[in-house]
């Protein structure tokens, strides 16, 4: 067991994968000499050299496209998109090429690439650098979608993503890089595609992923002090989606909140809410509540930014309302 940051866990995953398999290479803006905009690849350039850490021009569509071609040619590229906000200009290469190549070509070839990127609020970075756009990916068949919330998941899920036969979009959260945790990287990896139940309680189920896990856990602790016990589930990957775990707890508890930082409408929260209602209909005591990003762009103003997405306090309030706690505002 050693204390480690989310950032360093990601780096270690890349390092281990690169040491183990020399087809693994990282390609993106500032990933080499600079060490990555958020420092994830710092030091790897010195270790593995310019052929394994390829600094690119500021050409997101071609970065993703080049990774597709590399993946079809026997390499295992880890393409980096500095902000998930830039995914818009790559959605053709991602959605029309990476996601569909195996299918369109009748199964002849796969595109085993990982697209690493980061999203979310927390840095007053404004409307074009603070988004949570995972729903675009989740809506695109053929793309895996992984969003680690913890340090140990950062490590294990990235290692596992690098063994997938299909393209994986791997979205980190910018507010988590400095988070620390005691981890034992040698411990067995969690099962790929399985959600993790962080906390079990009988009053409500909170289904979430990425940074919102921590807000949900904080809210759950606060609720516990008022006698309300929440189950908190971290989905970890949205494709594959471990609905069995969700179902088991929802059917047991009957009250559910889904928490996502992405904007509510037609987002990941919608899919989760729809699925829970549809599949666990007879077990629900109340409708599923969506606690998601507001249907607005993110402001640079600190206060506005903070309130544009769920906070721990907000989750707590919503949770208490959901279980009918009198004291809820």
């Amino acid at each position: 067991m050693a204390e480690m940051t989310y950032r360093d866990a990601l780096k270690q995953a890349l390092r281990d994968a690169m040491a183990e398999d020399d087809t693994v290479m990282v390609i993106g803006e500032e990933v080499g000499r600079y060490g990555g905009a958020y420092g994830v690849t710092k030091g790897l350039y010195e270790e593995f050299g310019p052929d394994r850490l390829i600094d690119t021009p500021i050409s997101e569509p071609a970065i993703v496209g080049a990774a597709v071609g590399a993946a079809m040619s026997g390499l295992r590229p880890v393409a980096e998109l500095m902000y998930v906000d830039f995914i818009g200009m790559t959605m053709d290469q991602l959605g029309n090429q990476a996601a569909k190549i195996r299918y369109m070509f009748g199964g002849q070839v796969g595109v085993p690439m990982v697209l690493r990127t980061q999203g979310g609020t927390g840095r007053s970075a404004g409307a074009q650098h603070s988004q949570s756009l995972e729903a675009y990916v989740m809506h695109t068949p053929g793309l895996r979608l992984v969003m680690p919330a913890t340090v140990s998941d950062a490590y294990h899920l990235l290692r596992q993503s690098l063994r997938q036969p299909d393209p994986v979009v791997f979205i980190e959260h910018k507010a988590l890089y400095t988070m620390k945790e005691d981890v034992d990287l040698a411990a067995p990896a969690p099962e790929w595609g399985k959600a993790r139940v962080h906390r079990t309680g009988d009053d409500l189920v909170i289904v979430t992923y990425s940074r919102q896990l921590h807000h949900a856990l904080a809210a759950a602790e606060a609720m516990a002090r008022k006698g309300v016990e929440a189950t908190v589930i971290d989905l970890r990957s949205l494709n594959p989606l471990d609905f069995d775990t969700v179902r088991a707890h929802v059917e047991r508890v009957g009250r559910v909140m889904v928490v996502s930082e992405g904007v509510m409408t037609a987002g990941v929260g919608a899919e989760l809410s729809a699925r829970i209602h549809e599949e666990c209909f007879d077990f629900l005591a109340e409708p599923v509540i969506r606690v998601c990003g507001e249907d607005i762009p993110i402001s640079v103003s600190v206060e506005l930014e903070k309130n544009s997405v769920p906070t721990a306090a907000f989750i707590q309030t919503a949770g208490e309302k959901l279980v009918g706690l009198r004291s809820a505002a």
């Binding site: 597709v68 071609g69 053709d92 290469q93 369109m104 070509f105 009748g106």
Partner: protein, 351 residues
């Protein structure tokens, strides 16, 4: 399907014999194949009408493909039948794919615009203008690392000169000295738009030069010229200097099967079709005495039989089974996506 002696020629000529007769033969095969694609459509046996014939562009396909080797890779655009065939594709499996049949290269899922074959290094045709271009940058990275001198070639139309991703890709290839070539088949049109109405500036290869690529423009009339220019560019790329080649030709027919080209005049078409690489090569062969009308007629007839057979093959081929719909979204061994029907049954059964 074809007489043994001819098959033997078919297999050997494109690799070993680079004389005009061999090049003619391949160009004729491309042209005849495309004519049969038109026929498949007329017979209602094609999957849809989005069929883009490369008639008029045979010299680009054959001139460049005749220089490709094992290990080389390439991507094509929506008008890529000719390139793939020139590179050695099985015309039956191509036609079956165009017909959306299980026996096709992609089991009927891809169709005319999404044919691929990893065996021949065909990383895929593309229905997105410019969509297949950046893949050669990644393939080039892989080739460079392997160090065996393989190149990766992106084929595209003049319309892709208007897609930003081309410039991003050229810049990367040049920056990293990749064994990559960008081949623009300038057939003068993108749908109903003439190149001058859509692409500004000097000769196309000047754009390549401005991005630091070894660049040329070549007239597509004489396949030998195309091959010579392609040779210079490909040799450069094998040596680590990426290149750009524009081949000037003319799109003989409409954009796709439904397009009757009302936007251009008969005179324009007549003038354009004068740049006929197949006719030109035939004439040159006869005039130089290298071949004769009779020999070429026999060759053409043999090719006609070979290509006729592709239609029979396709008509006889199977539709893909419905359950294959869920296959190959993800790798073998991964769970297939649940069908909407199965899901509904599950939900209404109360799980």
């Amino acid at each position: 399907m074809t007489a043994p002696i001819d098959t033997a020629v078919a297999e050997k000529v494109p690799r070993s014999n680079t004389g005009l007769l061999a090049l003619y033969r391949q160009m004729r095969r491309v042209r005849t194949f495309e004519e049969r694609v038109g026929e498949l459509f007329v017979r209602g046996q094609s999957a849809g009408s989005m069929l883009h014939l490369s008639i008029g562009e045979e010299s680009a396909a054959v001139g460049v493909a005749s220089l490709m080797r094992d290990g080389d890779t390439f991507t094509t655009h929506h008008r890529g039948h000719g390139i793939f065939l020139a590179r050695g594709a099985d015309p039956n499996r191509m036609m079956a794919e165009i017909g959306g049949k299980e026996e096709g290269y992609c089991r009927g899922k891809g169709g005319s615009m999404h044919i691929a074959d990893m065996g021949l290094g065909h990383l895929g045709a593309n229905a997105i203008v410019g969509g297949g271009i950046p893949a050669v940058v990644g393939a080039g990275l892989a080739s460079k690392r392997e160090g065996k001198g393989a190149v990766s070639i992106a084929f595209f139309g003049d319309g892709a000169m208007q897609q930003g991703i081309l410039y991003e890709s050229m810049n990367m290839a040049a920056l990293w000295d990749l064994p990559v070539i960008f081949v623009c088949i300038n057939n003068q049109y993108g749908m109903g738009t003439r190149i001058e109405q859509a692409t500004k500036g000097r000769a196309l290869h000047e754009r390549g030069l401005a991005f630091g690529l070894n660049s040329e423009t070549v007239d597509g009339l004489d396949v030998r010229d195309v091959r010579a220019a392609a040779g210079r560019i490909i040799d450069g790329a094998r040596g680590g200097t990426p290149g750009f080649l524009a081949v000037e030709c003319y799109r003989f027919f409409g954009h796709a099967r439904m397009d009757k080209s009302p936007y251009r005049t008969p005179e324009d078409e007549e003038r354009g079709r004068a740049k006929d690489p197949v006719g030109f090569a035939r004439k040159a062969l006869v005039e130089s005495g290298e071949s004769s009308e009779a020999v070429l007629d026999a060759l053409d007839a043999e090719i006609a039989r070979e290509m006729d057979a592709t239609i029979d093959f396709t008509v006889a081929a199977r539709e893909p089974a419905l359950q294959t719909m869920f296959r190959d979204v993800y790798a073998p061994g991964e769970p297939e996506p649940e069908s909407v029907a199965a899901r509904i049954d599950r939900i209404l059964a109360g799980d």
